[in-house]
């Protein structure tokens, strides 16, 4: 399958008063049309920065190295005008907090139409019809009334639907959704994930779903990459990751999820300690201080990603090459 987005040895670092801090280190990953790639990691693992870098949205003190190709063309370091033409049209994004992503003093309809007028050159009238149609497709009841409302008049779940509608208006080839359901109630989360599932299938979209919660990607992702301390520590099909996890971190994350069928009287399985600070680089495996299977080699030598099965890779000294 030809990849829509391909990252090759992408690294991201930030200049800080304490010196250069590496946030993402040599990541290589692809996502193809009609495919959903789940990116899972804790706060500070670099999962968001990876894709912000690919789209040229890093903070001004950030620097990206390596390659990011969109349909084969390198987009890393493109000038602002070229990126602006692509973003919102062929590549769309949805962020965690829908309130801060919407302009508070503009009606929903105007914000939606602006995208179509700008990128597709539609008339105001055509744009409004398309926007209305898309609001209905993302499950907004009474779309005809909602389209003339302001963001504050909508609930959190409805605002996130508007954000998804806006992202999909220009029928992009790639959608990057960064924690799209984290701020939402569990009941609404289930609805939003169902919408993403149906629309991405319908539009043959390449979807990157970034989250800290493995439960969120389970029903959606075809492939999953688990990130820790700026690196991919495991990558494989959803079945590999959930049923045959190779990395102790992935296993620990899976165990930490509260489910409805575990023993509620047992203590919850927690990962001890805190994720590492990006500014301190350990010589060995970054997960070693929190790992339950750690041994001497882990502290001195960083494990590379090795095959743990067909199209399944893990970076752990305990994984035997398959």
């Amino acid at each position: 399958m030809a990849s829509v987005l391909s990252l090759e040895n992408l690294s991201v670092s930030f200049a800080t008063p304490d010196g250069e801090v590496g946030a993402v280190r040599e990541i290589s990953i692809q996502v193809g049309a009609g495919e959903c790639l789940g990116i899972v990691g804790e706060s500070g693992s670099g999962k968001s920065q990876t894709f912000l870098a690919a789209l040229g949205l890093l903070a001004s003190n950030g620097r990206a190295e390596g390659r990011a190709t969109f349909h084969g063309d390198n987009i890393l370091g493109l000038d602002a005008a070229a990126l602006n033409r692509m973003r919102g049209d062929r590549i769309a994004m949805v962020f965690q907090d829908p309130m801060t992503s919407l302009t508070p003093h503009m009606r929903i309809g105007r914000q939606l139409c602006e995208v179509l007028i700008r990128h597709k050159g539609l008339s105001r009238h055509e744009a409004r019809a398309r926007a209305l149609d898309m609001l209905q497709r993302v499950g907004i009841a009474e779309a005809g009334r909602r389209i003339d409302q302001y963001p504050h008049e909508l609930s959190g779940g409805m605002r996130q639907r508007v954000m998804i509608a806006m992202a999909l208006l220009c029928e992009p080839e790639l959608l990057i959704a960064d924690e799209p359901t984290t701020a939402l109630d569990v009941t609404v989360q289930a609805q939003i994930l169902a919408i993403l599932r149906h629309l991405t299938r319908e539009m043959n979209l390449a979807l990157v779903l970034i989250t800290h919660d493995l439960g969120v990607v389970a029903g959606l992702a075809d492939r999953v990459a688990v990130m820790y301390a700026g690196r991919v520590v495991e990558e494989g099909s959803a079945e590999d990751i959930f049923h045959r996890p190779g990395h102790p971190y992935t296993r620990a994350l899976l165990k930490a999820i509260t489910r409805l069928d575990d023993d509620p009287d047992m203590p919850l399985s927690a990962i001890p300690g805190q994720p590492p600070n990006a500014s301190e680089q350990l010589p060995g495996c970054a997960f070693a201080p929190r790992c339950e299977s750690v041994f001497d080699l882990c502290r001195s030598q960083r494990p590379d990603l090795v095959d743990a099965g067909p199209s399944h890779r893990a970076a752990c000294h305990l994984v035997e090459g398959a």
Partner: protein, 339 residues
């Protein structure tokens, strides 16, 4: 059950609001909490569950008298809290503490960890020498899993999970008897959530704490609460022991909340999606200013009938200690086909 330390009886919190955006509309009443009753024993945890806007935080705050109840009683150790004077209530707060959802926002950024944790001692007028105070702060920091060496650090130097530990230490330093935990883990990473839940359970065991644990996530509540209260638009939908609620939920809303928990299993989730196609909980919480007539849940309920629009269902006993507010809770025919 042993004698309850906390009795909440017919609690109502109503806010006068203006309809329409800019405050010029007609006056209306927002019933954030409407006729809620429950009891809590020493060392017990009651989980309060519901979606955003269901009134669960307001309920927690009304119990602590941080918002004034409109009606009903909150009785703490035999004493009606509303009858206390301001200074009496202030002294009572030593027993009654709260942990907030957003760990960083609830800590003063200009205060050190030590100052933050010691603040309730000052507020309660507990006079200690500098050394005594420092020893007490260091000891509680150790209890919540923070190194006392961090006592002079500022909140921004900590991760979310560590900030939540500071918030818990601040609540615990006056040795309270009841702690209201308002979504204490929902802003934390999955891996850190478990640490905080386990910590709260350990502290509860050690100090015989009673907890009100407010959350929208049933899978988390299940691990800490012995009883569970399901709230919807300010009203109690179902109240019962944990195993009663999870093994045999009677209210369609409770069932919907359980269905919404995502199993970390791609096969199970896809199967569940096929089965529940178009049947999951539709829409969102209606506006609490214009709640539906009759049963407030009926607009999203898969088994609602005409009677649900007409009559408000009262809480009825399903089992001893397990009550449910649904016209069709015991009507198995209504359930068939919808689940």
């Amino acid at each position: 059950m042993s004698d309850p330390v906390l009795q909440v009886d017919g609690l109502k919190v109503h806010f006068p609001v203006r309809r329409g955006g800019l405050g010029f509309g007609a006056l209306a009443t927002l019933k954030a909490v409407d006729d809620v009753s429950f009891e809590l024993s020493r060392g017990e945890t009651l989980g309060i569950v519901g979606e955003s806007g269901c009134g669960k935080s307001t309920l927690g705050r009304a119990v602590l008298q941080l918002v004034a109840p409109t009606d009903g009683r909150v009785v703490w150790l035999g004493q009606d809290l509303a009858a206390l004077s301001r200074s009496e209530m202030r002294r009572k707060r030593r027993d009654l503490q709260i942990v907030f959802q957003d760990p960083l926002a609830s800590l003063d950024p200009r205060m050190t960890t030590g100052e933050i944790i010691a603040e309730p001692l000052r507020a309660q007028g507990i006079r200690l020498s500098r050394d005594e105070r420092r020893a007490r702060v260091a000891s509680i920091m150790e209890k919540v899993g923070l190194s006392p060496a961090l006592i002079n650090r500022y909140p921004h130097e900590f991760s979310g999970g560590q900030c939540q530990r500071i918030g818990i230490a601040r609540a615990m330093i006056v040795e309270p008897k009841l702690v209201v935990c308002d979504e204490p883990v929902s802003s934390l990473d999955v891996s850190i959530r478990a640490q905080i839940v386990n910590l709260l359970k350990d502290l509860q065991k050690e100090f015989g704490l009673s907890l009100l644990f407010i959350s929208h996530d049933l899978s988390v509540v299940r691990h800490i609460a012995s009883r569970i209260l399901v709230l919807y638009l300010g009203r109690v939908m179902e109240l019962g022991a944990r195993d009663q609620i999870f093994d045999a939920p009677f209210h369609p809303y409770t069932r919907a909340l359980m269905e919404a928990v995502l199993a970390p299993d791609p096969v199970a989730q896809r199967d569940a999606d096929e089965v529940s196609e178009g049947r999951g909980l539709k829409g969102e919480l209606p506006s609490p200013i214009d709640p539906p007539s009759g049963c407030v849940f009926r607009t999203r309920c898969p088994i609602a009938t005409e009677i649900c629009a007409k009559d408000v269902p009262g809480l009825r006993d399903a089992m001893p200690g397990h009550s449910v507010a649904c016209h069709h809770a015991f009507d198995r025919k209504a359930w068939r086909g919808s689940y």
